[in-house]
């Protein structure tokens, strides 16, 4: 079964094309772009917020994007049980939107951190984790 994915583009998104490529050409799913000013999710099954620097990280990372018209639709979609995935800056948008709890802080030290970390699956019944 094919799922229809919507990849949201904000000004400053830069992993939007990678995400669409991965969905269509690697995973062989249906995928379309959704522009942040739209008010319509075009019947997608899953919304993906890609990485990048929406609005140049102005104010706080992800904050301006969270106020965009499309994100109000995404919020309602998620609250109705719709599937939403935020990657990197997209994850920050979900925090600013209040769909996920908490906020992100700067690193305690001045190092750029890129390392393998252990992930714990807290909920193995979610659609994205049920195969784990």
């Amino acid at each position: 079964m094919k799922l229809k994915f919507g990849v949201v583009i904000f000004p400053g998104s830069n992993c939007d094309y990678d995400t669409l490529y991965a969905l269509k050409d690697v995973l062989n799913q249906d995928a379309i772009f959704l522009w942040h000013k739209e008010h319509n999710l075009k019947n997608v099954d899953c919304v993906i917020l890609p990485g990048g620097f929406s609005y140049g990280d102005y104010l706080r990372s992800g904050s301006i994007a969270a106020f965009s018209p499309l994100m109000q639709e995404v919020k309602e979609f998620a609250l109705r049980g719709g599937l939403v995935l935020g990657i990197c800056n997209g994850f920050q948008v979900l925090l600013e939107l209040g769909l996920l709890p908490g906020a992100m802080l700067r690193n305690k030290n001045l190092k750029f951190l890129c390392q393998f970390v252990h992930l714990r699956v807290d909920n193995a019944t979610a659609p994205a984790t049920s195969w784990v």
């Binding site: 104010l59 706080r60 904050s63 106020f67 600013e96 908490g102 906020a103 802080l105 700067r106 690193n107 305690k108 030290n109 001045l110």
Partner: protein, 82 residues
């Protein structure tokens, strides 16, 4: 009317940017600087808004937009009255 809003990290939240600025100041020999906290300043020009209305609207937009109330706090003042 002109208002100024200061947004900064809550006292309980570590401020690595402020710490880094403090360390740079120490490097320059300003040893008596004990702590630095960094924040943001917004200056808003308001048209046709009464001070009473500003009392309601400024905290509202600060909480909703200018600051993230989970980690930040804000104070504000009127700079110029109409």
């Amino acid at each position: 009317m002109k208002v100024r809003i200061l947004v900064s990290l809550k006292d309980s939240v570590l401020d690595p940017q402020g710490q880094t600025v403090k360390n740079a100041l120490h490097t320059l020999g300003y040893d008596s600087i004990k702590d630095v906290r960094q924040g943001k300043v917004f200056e808003l020009e308001l048209e046709g808004m009464s001070p009473e209305e500003a009392e309601r609207v400024i905290p509202e937009i600060s909480d909703k937009v200018l600051a993230n109330p989970i980690i930040e706090k804000f104070v504000w003042q009127i700079l110029e009255k109409d």
